[in-house]
């Protein structure tokens, strides 16, 4: 099976490079350029993993996505989907007020900083996909 990754990020260049990277590593990739578009894409594309930028148009747009995934009925089947939170700012999630949906949905090792450390990212992704499939 070819795992599907959804990239939600408003930086087109970041999506372009990461998409090529993932495709060359055997993933299928879809892109969305906002939290809203991302949520629509989730339903249509049914990804196995989401890579989500925290700070898009509004500084907390990424959180809106985890919130919807966690609480909205349409997204019930994605409640357990592995989500990687990506940000260009180095900050640990406990330095700011953590949002509940986020705390429950995102494992601490899935906070990544841009630019991504490629080997580490690929390794985490592989594990996430394996765990997602195992619990399906």
């Amino acid at each position: 099976m070819c795992a599907k990754v959804l990239l939600i990020d408003d930086d087109r260049d970041f999506r372009t490079s990461v998409k090529s990277l993932l495709e060359s590593s055997g993933y299928q990739v879809a892109e969305a350029d906002s939290g809203h578009a991302g949520l629509l894409k989730v339903l249509e594309y049914k990804p196995h993993v989401i890579v989500l930028d925290i700070m898009m148009e509004s500084s907390t747009e990424g959180y809106g996505v985890t919130y919807a995934l966690k609480y909205l009925d349409e997204y019930a089947e994605f409640r357990g989907i592995p989500v990687f939170m990506v940000s260009s700012i180095k900050e640990s999630p406990d330095e700011r007020f953590p949002m509940s949906a986020e705390v429950e949905m995102i494992r601490p090792d899935r906070y990544l900083t841009k630019p991504l450390d490629i080997p580490r990212f690929l390794q985490l992704l592989e594990k996430a996909v394996a765990s997602g499939v195992a619990t399906d």
């Binding site: 930086d11 260049d13 970041f14 372009t16 490079s17 990461v18 090529s20 990277l21 060359s24 700070m55 148009e57 500084s59 907390t60 809106g64 919130y67 609480y71 909205l72 260009s88 700012i89 007020f97 949002m99 509940s100 841009k114 630019p115 991504l116 490629i118």
Partner: protein, 381 residues
Amino acid sequence: MSESAAPEAVVVIDDDYAMRLSCAKIVSKMGLRVEVFEDGARGLEAVAALKPGLVVVDLKMPGISGLEVVSRVHEIDPQIIMVVITGYATIDTAVEAMKSGAYDFLPKPFSPDELRLIVNRGLERRRLALESQRGEVERALLKRTFVTFVSHQLRSPLAAIHQYLDVLQRLDEAGDSPARRREWIGRCLKRTEELQSLIADWLTLARVEGGALLKERVEVDLKSTIVNILENYRAMAAAEDVALEVSLPEGETRVRGDRTCVSVLFDNLITNAIKYNRRGGKVTVSGGFCDGEIVIAVGDTGVGIPEKYRPFLFDEFFRIKDSGVKRTEGTGLGLHISKRIVSEMGGSIEVESQAGIGSTFRVRLPAWREPADDAEMGGWE
């Protein structure tokens, strides 16, 4: 996003059906819009969508707790007034809720009058807060998020470039395609330029804030400054199919200021007029005199600026992101810097605009006077 004149909305979140119903009845009789929800998750979604003036929430509910609703609502909008409903024995939790930002609490059972009173008081307080503190609150929020925002702005292009190079290096080992390589290098250059202009903007801002304009006040001729800038942008305008026209008045157009800052000011206005124009459009720079001031107008035939955005136009980082509006790259600092420069020079800047037709930015600057005239005003050391 904008405050409308429609009746204020009140959201009631309570898992108890009877309670929801009676609250809804009382509140809607007060002439307010009311929406009821049975759990915190749905209630919060509604709060995010409706931006109500006031939220009534039961502290004891299954699912997301009332306490959490209180803090989440304030993440959505700190100006929303929160009233919590508590059971007999939960005063402690009520206190907790007030600490997390609730406005007041209603112990069960309560009478319709008590609810009405608290809702009215709450909304009144909100109105006052909105009126008197609007600007301040916004500024305080902006300050707090400022550092995060700036580092985000500076790091994004750098991260994008870095990621391109990193991935390129890796794909190279696997035999990269030259076409992709060319495209990515092009993008890296673009993003580098973006970073350069961001840094340049920051430096100018620092210069203005550091008082460079007060220290270094020399004679600057607007006419030649503007003509030079237009010359620099001939090619850019031609590429966008925008005509540049200039009609500056005969006579003295000298002002007193910092040469770089004056250039930056008109550079910003002229590049905006080109960037936010349409193909086949034009930019007109014209001038005149009025009450000892030189008035320069930079007009365009572009997308225009919807009225609702005009109050924010000169704020730092403000950019219009409507779907109808042309998307170009930029930092959102240009007009903020321009306004700072103009006010430091004792002038003013205003905008007139019609969406879809065009905009005109009008700058007024005090005309240069010989230093002798200034001696009596305290000199210019």
